[in-house]
């Protein structure tokens, strides 16, 4: 090796930070992407559990038509916190911050993200934001739902100010994460990894990053104007001074519709990784899946007003939004059919991650179909703000995002802990989740069609028995989630060693030891082909092509 080559290699090493020594730099203010990913996972996981408790409080209230468990005011606060915590503090940090940080740099053969220090800052916007949000409970909590439409939100107490500040703060972190990830994917892929050789999870993360960069900033402006309206009495949303409340809905949904895809696109990526691994086949339609991700992202900026069909928009506004919304079904359908085509004729291995993916496919498709129904303006006029909407969103966010997150946890857990999880407990977790998810949320379609409005603490006694049934199933569904925690603790204490590649997968993260070493890759691997060529030799330079790809389960 010539002296020049050595100098260049050293420069390739230059952005890599030395391994930390102290406890604080190692576990608290770490700049290592793997540690930050796990930090995101723990913080956001706690928020999901907390949000689940709010959901159970809602369901306790709804066990009888005129329950006194919560006052109507507390009920409003409960569903506001349930939604806010799930969307901004649970789902988005888990699918971007946790999975993106842990998996994406490993899959592209990088030693860290582009800006490790910025990555640390991104994570540390989250805990203060969580504290600010939760402290609003003591100062007149926000109670107008997670969307906080004015004028209702402007009539509330100072809690709404906390709410805007909290989401603005965590939004800064989300934007910086998007900036960081996009730079990483564009600039730091291993030599030879062209865009069409990237694993599909990397595609999903890159596209999600673009969504974060555009949409989260737009949300920040909506939050900023709500903040200004509350604190400085700005007339943006005050009709008596020429403002209009519909403006907030436009600003809010221009963000929040893409946010839906921020929550689901990385999960599509997770599913695209797991399906070929356990179908033991190359994925069907790699490029179609990749490009449909891009087209979903583009379309997501053109459909926001479908959340506002009942806000009094003109027909000439609602009609194009209806058509564009239905159009999103095309790229999403391309993905679903590609996954099903991959499974077609495959010698499938029904491990826990695979089971969750199959569960995802069925429940998410149902949620997608009700989504198309709601996209039709006449249907939406009828079903908007009923439990039908609640059922739809839980089919795509619980049945879609959360099922995919569970699948991802079971899939990558051995990589990051070096230990296997219990398959028996995992399968039990899957089947109970799948059954009680459907018994909880399927009946909501029916009460919604019957006309039960969402976000109301009391309801018509005619719906009593069905609501009691939903509540009982919701309690079981909540309790079942604890099985995952039990499995995690069991695995950390007693789980068998995983080895580098327990599932026999072919992406780069499985070519190194579990858990990965601090620098991930001692030398940067070179990539000669796409990752899903089952049956072919591994397309990586030595020493990253030595791992056995025979499943060891």
């Amino acid at each position: 090796m010539s002296i020049d080559t050595i100098a260049v290699l050293r420069r390739a090493d230059a952005p890599i930070h030395p391994a930390p020594e102290s406890f604080v730099r190692k576990y608290l203010f770490s700049i290592d992407h793997k540690v930050i990913g796990i930090q995101y996972f723990i913080a956001a996981g706690l928020m999901v559990l907390l949000s689940g408790l709010f959901a159970e409080a809602i369901r306790i209230q709804l066990t009888s038509p005129h329950n006194t468990f919560l006052t109507p005011q507390q009920f409003n606060e409960a569903f506001t916190f349930h939604g806010t915590l799930m969307v901004w503090f649970g789902a988005i940090p888990i699918v971007t911050g946790a999975f993106g940080n842990c998996v994406m740099p490993l899959q592209i053969g990088a030693r860290d993200v582009a800006f490790p220090w910025l990555n640390m800052v991104s994570f540390w916007t989250a805990p203060p934001a969580m504290l600010i949000l939760l402290s609003s409970l003591a100062f007149g909590a926000p109670d107008a739902g997670w969307t906080e439409y004015p004028p209702v939100s402007l009539q509330a107490g100072v809690g709404i100010v906390f709410w805007t500040v909290a989401i603005f703060t965590i939004g800064i972190g989300a934007t910086l994460t998007g900036l960081n990830f996009l730079t990483t994917v564009v600039k730091m892929r291993a030599p030879g990894m062209t865009f069409t050789r990237m694993p599909l999870f990397v595609w999903a993360t890159a596209v999600t990053s673009v969504l974060s960069l555009v949409a989260t900033t737009a949300l920040a402006s909506a939050l900023g104007s709500l903040f200004l309206s509350h604190v400085f009495n700005i007339p943006f949303y005050d009709p008596s001074r020429g403002g209009t409340v519909v403006l907030f809905q436009h600003m809010f949904w221009f963000y929040s519709h893409p946010a839906v895809y921020i929550m689901i696109l990385p999960v599509f990526g997770i599913v695209s990784e797991i399906i070929p691994t356990f179908a033991r086949k190359p994925i069907f339609g790699y490029k179609l899946i990749a490009y449909s991700t891009v087209s979903i992202a583009l379309l997501s900026f053109m459909v926001w007003a479908h959340h506002m069909f009942t806000s009094g928009l003109g027909v000439w506004v609602t009609l194009p939004f209806m058509i564009l919304t239905m159009l999103i079904g095309v790229p999403t359908g391309i993905k679903i059919f590609s996954w099903v085509a991959t499974l077609f004729g495959a010698n499938m291995r029904l491990t826990t991650p695979m089971l969750f993916v199959l569960g995802f496919l069925s429940t998410f498709t149902l949620g997608g179909i009700t989504g198309i129904m709601l996209a039709a303006v006449p249907v939406d006029w009828h079903e908007h703000a009923t439990y039908f909407l609640v059922a739809h969103i839980h089919y795509v966010l619980f049945g879609g995002t959360l099922m995919g997150v569970f699948a991802g946890i079971y899939y990558w857990w051995p990589k990051f802990t070096g230990r296997m999880m219990s398959e028996k407990l995992g399968k039990l977790h899957f089947w109970l989740t799948f059954i009680f998810f459907n018994t909880t949320f399927l009946p909501m379609h029916f009460v919604g069609l019957l006309g039960m409005p969402r976000r109301v603490a009391y309801y018509d006694p005619a719906y009593h028995s069905i609501n009691l049934f939903i509540s009982i199933n919701a309690f079981i569904l909540g309790a079942v989630t604890l099985l995952l925690l039990v499995n995690m603790f069991w695995s950390l204490k007693k789980g068998p060693a995983a080895g580098p590649n327990p599932w026999g997968a072919r992406t780069l993260e499985w070519m190194i030891s579990s858990p990965p070493p601090y620098y991930n890759f001692k030398e940067i691997p070179e990539v000669y082909s796409g990752p899903y060529g089952y049956g072919e030799p591994l397309p990586y330079s030595a020493p990253y092509n030595q791992v056995s790809v025979t499943p060891s389960y």
């Binding site: 290699l9 996009l182 030599p191 030879g192 900033t217 737009a218 020429g242 600003m251 000669y528 082909s529």
Partner: protein, 204 residues
């Protein structure tokens, strides 16, 4: 490098280790993405202003005086002038002419501060005429957007002062000056935003 020739044998699009090392100056792309996301922030408020305008029967609302276009134009000229000096400052540094760099940067800082002073004068005269932040939607969108822009100019002035101090301390050289490139880019970005705001509030 055997691995590399093997890679070539496998197909196209393979980077060498050298190319890989070369492309790792990431900060430029990162900073462009930052400016992009910042521009979305402005865009969102610009669309809000246009929406409020379309919702109003007359614009500006009755009893509201538009800000003085002459003062606005003077301020715009000052800001664009600072863009020119910022551009030349960067060039002088690349040509290793440090004195030129220092004087052009000082000129940029002074022009930027003049812009802020002009904006402060404009704000106070508008308030005297009863155009306030919380009074009408015109005042709300004008003060929100120009205030956000003014805040960006203020940050830019600080940023330029910091980079000037860094250059005097020998942090940057004609070949290594990413911090300066970023400051200059940011300054041009703020200029461009002002073009849009000027049309939105003074002319359109």
């Amino acid at each position: 490098m055997a691995a590399h020739s093997e890679a070539l044998a496998h197909g196209h699009g393979v980077m060498t280790q050298e190319e890989y090392a070369e492309q790792r100056d990431l900060r430029f792309l990162g900073f462009l993405l930052f400016l992009f996301t910042d521009s979305i922030f402005f865009t969102s408020y610009i669309f809000a202003a246009l929406y409020l305008r379309s919702a109003a029967p007359v614009w500006p609302p009755p009893g509201v005086e538009r800000p003085d276009v002459n003062l606005g134009a003077l301020n715009a000229i000052i800001l664009f002038g600072s863009g020119v000096t910022a551009h030349y400052a960067m060039h002088r540094l690349k040509e290793s002419r440090f004195n030129g760099y220092i004087w052009f940067t000082i000129a940029t800082i002074i022009l930027g501060s003049l812009f802020l002073l002009g904006q402060g004068y404009e704000y106070s005269s508008l308030y005297h005429h009863g155009v306030t932040w919380s009074g009408t939607t015109f005042g709300a969108s004008f003060f929100t957007l120009t205030g956000l822009h003014g805040f960006h100019v203020f940050v830019g002035v600080i940023y330029l002062i910091v980079t000037l101090a860094q250059t005097l301390a020998g942090v940057y050289s004609p070949s290594r000056h990413f911090g300066l490139t970023a400051a200059t880019l940011y300054w041009h970005f703020v200029d461009v935003i002002w073009v849009v705001l000027f049309f939105l509030f003074y002319i359109y």
